[in-house]
């Protein structure tokens, strides 16, 4: 879509509301965004959910260490593949299941003589799924957020330079983006992951190096628009330097677009991490990420479906929340929505 916006421009009146009068009391941008976002129930729920998820991920760092999620008892098989058990008589969450090869559902905990309750069950080596998903969530979020942050730096910097300098620099930089977007992301990510080897940072780098183009395009387009606006001209006249104008005036004005873009990049980074894991280019075992948990769980689907369903549901919920929040923010930042 962005591709096309570069090539075509719409002719005619675009902004209907421009002719309308503003009668409401003046709110600061952030106040009014929050005011509008609050009305979108889904976005607020997503926001709360994401804040909780992030808090959980942070708080879990001292509580559930990566090492403890990898621990298991090599001396016994009794902890292997235990189904989720909440300790309450909830069907499907009470430690009962029909084990592969068996015909009747039994309490696997009682059968294996396990006193402990694993709230999300254990995996095929006897590791707690709850711990592994916690660590996996943390790692996937970390990968996605750091990749997005790198993305943000490259994308905004690139877009500003391209738009601000214009001319042949702009042409060259735009061609570079075109080349990069001509190769499907998966291919680029795969090639880069092969090049860097499979470590967390190489995955971050591989994802970051492919997903910044969207951000760069949007920032460039906005820069081109704002460049001609009065506030920039005023700053120029007052003798402010280019970089200063960019940081002090342009970036704050684009923050809405940038934030929305970030909300869209994070879930796609989470997804790319999962795809890389699916083709064995994910993080190193036994470290868990949502992607590796899903990939490993794939072999269990027939027998212990909870082992793939739990990380999958977590991945989908987190992505969903980011997208819904992004939608909400886009609407909230959209001046057209101001009067609704």
């Amino acid at each position: 879509m962005e591709e096309v916006q570069n090539e075509f421009s719409l002719v005619g009146i675009e902004d209907k509301s421009a002719s309308e009068n503003i009668v409401k009391p003046a709110l600061s941008t952030w106040q009014s965004v929050w005011h509008r976002l609050r009305k979108n129930k889904l976005a607020v729920v997503s926001l709360v959910f994401l804040v909780l998820v992030m808090l959980y991920a942070l708080i879990s760092i001292p509580l559930v260490s990566q090492n403890s999620a990898n621990q298991f008892d090599t001396g016994t098989a009794k902890y292997k593949n235990l189904p989720p058990k909440s300790g309450l008589p909830i069907p499907g969450w009470d430690g009962n299941m029909t084990t592969p090869g068996a015909t009747e559902s039994v309490d696997v905990y009682a059968k294996n003589d396990v006193d402990q309750n694993f709230i999300l069950g254990t995996d095929n080596l006897g590791r707690s799924v709850a711990k592994r998903v916690t660590v996996g969530l943390r790692i996937s979020l970390f990968i996605a957020i750091v990749a997005t942050a790198i993305d943000l730096l490259i994308g905004v910097g690139y877009g500003l330079i391209s738009g601000w300098l214009g001319g042949w620099v702009d042409t060259v930089l735009q061609r570079v983006i075109e080349v990069i977007s001509a190769i499907p992301n998966l291919v680029v990510v795969t090639l880069l992951a092969m090049l860097f080897g499979s470590s967390m940072w190489s995955i971050i780098l591989a994802i970051a190096l492919t997903s910044w183009t969207g951000m760069a395009r949007q920032v460039r387009n906005l820069t081109l628009t704002y460049k001609e606006r009065d506030f920039v001209l005023a700053a120029k006249t007052l003798g402010e330097s280019g970089p200063k104008i960019a940081l002090k005036h342009l970036v704050p004005n684009m923050s809405g677009t940038i934030i929305v873009q970030i909300m869209m990049t994070i879930p796609s980074a989470i997804m790319f991490e999962a795809v890389l894991s699916a083709i064995n280019l994910g993080v190193k075992a036994p470290t868990a990420s949502l992607g590796t948990l899903i990939t490993d769980g794939q072999n269990m689907l027939q027998y212990y479906p909870y082992q793939i369903l739990i990380p999958s549901v977590v991945l989908v919920l987190v992505s969903l929340a980011f997208i819904l929040l992004g939608d909400g923010l886009r609407d909230a930042f959209d001046p057209k929505m101001a009067d609704e």
Binding site: I183, M271, I294, F322
Partner: protein, 305 residues
């Protein structure tokens, strides 16, 4: 128009050349050799290098590759002995293309329908429901969906075939559905917002005033005007389909280029990886070019720069 197309084609070719060059040199620095036999002695490896032309200077290899590429020759696979990469890709491309096209058509049709229903019932329950479903649709990676579909409809219910390609249409249903959900969700969201804009426009208000009812209104007026922007979606959707299809093909054992790409990664079959990359890039660029041209043709408001 002709001039515009020519210019775009030229840019496309230059872009493709850059892609080829970049991938070629990337392959040079990737670790790995084409041989998978631990018994090979140094002299045997030297011999094999000579056979594959790997003993020549890199620049010579590069120009050889370019010249061969112009003749449609993408080299010989390391993994599939003697097999030319062009044949490997050429025979698998139609399979992937059929799967991709089916998914795109099903996805867009479903998206049009859901989007219209959503827009017509704006802010009602149906709208909210479809909104969540379509957001869910873009947040579930197609390979997870493929696994779930395979498990439910293939393994447990046994309604549909679980693998293969080419014997019957029913084999294509599950993979098509897995891939179609992404485009369907994107289209739904897009059509909804486009159509809401259109429904609020003056000429629809006029039509309404003239007494047209909901369904007629949408079919006769709203659809047509919200259809055009959908064309612009096809490019990005194709890009996403390419990503999704690699894993989905693998899950359903479909002999397409995606599966080939995935299986050539662990075997370090660089000629195949490179060939696939080039073909993917060319496909994506051609798709974007075609949609741009189509948009220009159908939408008189869009002026070519």
């Amino acid at each position: 128009m002709a001039k515009y197309i020519l210019k775009r084609v030229l840019i496309l070719l230059v872009t493709l050349w850059i892609v080829v060059t970049a991938t070629f040199f990337l392959m040079q620095i990737l670790p790995g050799t084409p041989y998978n036999n631990p018994h090979l002695s140094a002299s045997a490896i030297a011999q094999l290098n000579q056979t594959y032309g790997l003993d020549k200077p890199v620049l010579v290899q590069y120009f050889d590759y370019l010249v061969n590429l112009l003749h449609g020759d993408l080299g010989t696979s390391y993994q599939y002995q003697n097999q030319s990469v062009s044949t490997l890709i050429g025979q698998r491309l139609p399979v992937s293309a059929q799967l991709g096209l089916q998914a795109l058509v099903v996805g867009i049709l479903l998206g049009l329908w859901f989007g219209a229903v959503s827009a017509k019932n704006q802010n009602k329950k149906t709208d909210g429901f479809l909104g969540i479903i379509s957001t869910l649709g873009i947040s579930v990676p197609s390979f997870i969906l493929a696994i779930v579909l395979l498990y439910v409809f293939g393994y447990n219910l046994g309604w549909l075939p679980v693998s293969g390609w080419g014997d019957s249409f029913s084999e294509t249903i599950l993979p098509t559905l897995a891939l179609a959900v992404g485009p369907a969700a994107t289209t739904t969201r897009f059509v909804r917002s486009e159509m809401i804009d259109v429904l609020h426009s003056d000429y629809i208000q006029l039509a309404r005033a003239k007494g047209l009812t909901g369904t007629q209104l949408i079919r006769k007026h709203a659809y047509r005007n919200s259809m055009i922007p959908i064309l612009t979606l096809i490019g990005p959707m194709v890009a996403n389909l390419l990503t999704g299809s690699t894993l989905v093909e693998n899950i359903f054992s479909i002999p397409g280029i995606g599966q080939q790409f995935v299986s050539s990664i662990p075997t370090k079959d660089y000629p195949v990886i490179m060939g696939t990359t080039i073909v993917y890039a060319a496909m994506l660029m051609v798709c974007i070019l075609i949609t741009d041209i189509l948009t220009a043709i159908v939408d008189p408001r869009v002026r070519l720069k």
